[in-house]
Each structure stands twice: as C-alpha cells, then as structure tokens.
Symmetry: C2
C-alpha cells in the first residue's frame, strides 16, 4: 500500500480538468466513483463489503483521501483490492487534478472500477468536481434525518444516496419518509438505497447499480 501526498492543483479550471479526466477514463473503460459522507458514516466499511461481494466480477481500485493516517487504505488492502492512501495536505476536499495524480499511481489497465473515498465532510467535497463519473454519498442512520436540510448542496450533487447502518434503526430516531422527501425535493433523480454493510441488507441493489454503470 502506497502513501502519496497531494497538494491543491494550480489550474485554470477545475471543471475543465474534471471533464477531461472523465473522458480519458471512459476511453480506458474505467468507471470512477466519488464516495462522500461525514466522518464515521462508514465509507470504508461499505467499500470493503462491496469489494468482497464483487471481487469475482470486477477489478476494483480504491483511492483513500485523508488529511492524515493510513488506517483506511490498510483496511481496504485486507480485501485484496488495490488501494492508495492519498494525504490532502490538510485540505478538506479533492479536486480533479488531485484525483488524476492518485489515479496515475494505479495500474488502470487491469481495473474496471475505481472508488475515491473522499475526505469525511459534507461541505467542501461537494464544491469540487473530482472527475468522477458518478457521485455517491452516504448518510448513516445515527447522523439523523435533518441532514438534507442542513447540507443541501451535497445531496443535490449526488447520483446515489446510501442510507447506511440500517441495522441500528431501533436505537435512533430516524424517519425514512422524511429523509426521502427532503432529498427528492433537492434532487428528484437521485437513487436511494437503504443498506447495512454489517448484515449485507440492501447491498445487492447498490452492487447491481455499479454493474449497470460499468463502462
């Protein structure tokens, strides 16, 4: 497992960089997915489960973006997937230039799907196109059903919302109907999958969506 240091990209236009990266990856038939959430919502656990479930069908690589540490990349490595730990030099997000640098460290010829596990944060990552073809976000049950009201931008930018840790639903006040209504108001086309990485409930629906979007 490799650790790389990423710094803010000096670029005229992040949107242009992101567009070019998407095109380049499309040519290489590598689906690139940006995964965002609060800290501790369970991004790494969800990725580990997804990789294990799909390992006979797809070769998956993971870029773990964090300010510090290598704990997430080490967890991913245990699944057998290729993982890179990317440190963001204190930054709260990943831009397209940073994605590109991290992707350059992976052997894309043998990879079908790359996940970028973005920095745990509901604000800054939503403001930068990472060059990913699809944006997926996690809202975990313990975080509460008011989050779409408080962080509307990120919910409006995602293709998929995963409502995770549904195995803990009995211990928290979380109103699924309210969340779905609030999210659909911001983003009518978003797909919402309730899942548990622990029990596996609902994971098939998300994994089927990944397979459908394969390039």
């Amino acid at each position: 497992m490799k650790i790389i240091e990423l710094h803010k990209t000096i670029s005229e236009s992040n949107d242009k960089d992101a567009f070019e990266l998407k095109e380049e990856l499309r040519k290489q038939k590598v689906l690139f997915i940006n995964l965002m959430s609060s800290p501790g919502a369970g991004k790494t656990t969800l990725l580990s489960r997804t990789i294990l479930d799909l390992k006979d069908e797809m070769n998956i690589g993971v870029i773990e973006a964090d300010i510090d540490s290598d704990v997430d990349a080490l967890k991913i490595e245990k699944t057998g997937a290729l993982s890179i730990q990317a440190h963001t030099d204190g930054m709260c997000h990943v831009d397209a230039g940073m994605s590109k640098k991290a992707l350059d460290e992976l052997d894309l010829k043998n990879i079908d799907l790359v996940f970028l596990e973005n920095v745990g944060n509901l604000i800054c990552p939503a403001e930068y196109d990472t060059g990913a073809h699809k944006n997926v976000m996690i809202l975990s049950i313990p975080e509460g059903d008011d989050k779409p009201l408080k962080y509307p931008l990120i919910f409006s930018k995602c293709d998929v919302l995963l409502l995770t840790k549904i195995d803990t639903i009995n211990y928290f006040n979380f109103d699924f109907e309210k969340v779905i209504k609030r999210v659909k108001k911001l983003n009518p086309n978003i797909l919402i999958f309730p899942v548990s990485s622990k029990t596996g409930e609902g994971m098939k629906e998300f994994e089927d969506w990944l397979k459908e979007n394969r390039l």
Copy 2:
C-alpha cells in the same frame, strides 16, 4: 428566533480579532464556548440537555451556525434559551468576526454563557479561532475510534472532548482505551467526558466543568 446571514470577515488577522473578542467577553463576564463535531454527532441534543440541566443556575445563549435551515435554533428555542440561527453563506467554518456579529444580536447583559454550535465538520472549524474562551468537541460512538488518527488537528485544539451516545456502545465497535490514548498523544491536557445526552449519564461532570469556568 432570529436568522442572520454571516459572510467571510475581511480582516488583517483573525487571531487578533479572536484575541480581542475573548478579552471583550471576559470584561462582560460572558463565557464563550465553541462546540465542534461531525454532522450528526449530536451537538444540538447535547446543548438542549445542558441548557435544561443548568437553566436555574446560568443564563445561556446559543449561536447555531449552519449553511442552511433553522432546525437547530428551533430545537434550542424549545429549551427556553436565547438562540440565533447564523447562516454561513456556504462556508465550512466560523471566524472571529462572524462570531462577533452573531454575539451582537444577543443581549449579553443578561447572559452568563454563550455556546457557538459550529458548522458540522472536523476539518475547517479547527483552522479558525472563533474567539471562544474554550473549545469543546464531540466524538460520537457511532463515528468510530479511528477519528483522532484521521483528523488530528481538531483533537489537538480542544480543551474538552465529549464522547457521546455512550448508550449505544453495545451496537458499535468502539474502543474507549484506544481513543483516549490516541487523543492524549495529540493533546495531553484535554479533558475527556463520556456522556449520553439521552440518558443523562456523565452530563454532570461536563456541567460541573462549565460552572467551574464561569467568568
């Protein structure tokens, strides 16, 4: 309940603004506390409980900083405390100038303690001195015990760490000893209180600390 719009402060030095704000509030005998955490860690629930527990002893005001919505200030209002909802114009943190503007909206003559509920985020809020006399952060059990490894700056800047939602400890893998060791390595003087805003467990220790720090 009032909603105000805050914008990035144009200032030579945020640290200087913060220092002056602390001094000014000290003269007015108003203790100002900055509360930080991830989204959904339970800042508002903890504040509601604290206000209800202390309402016969202290007059408490709350500044609710959020990108959007007024759900938190409405919750605080139900406790009888003075609350202001401050929108941060999309920004992921609060600086000292923004704090000052929000404090100007409260009748400080009749207030002993003001909480700033900072934007839910473990990265950006740690980079700006808000002018608060003390920094308190929450790490909730569902977020996991690896957070001090991944977000070291915020743990190093706080006077108090509240380990919250301890009533849910049986449903999550969370190693108290590991967290305490990791946090103390970053910040040997930090005080750590395990609490549950739901059951009230441990709240007295935190509330006693607030009373000891009264100005």
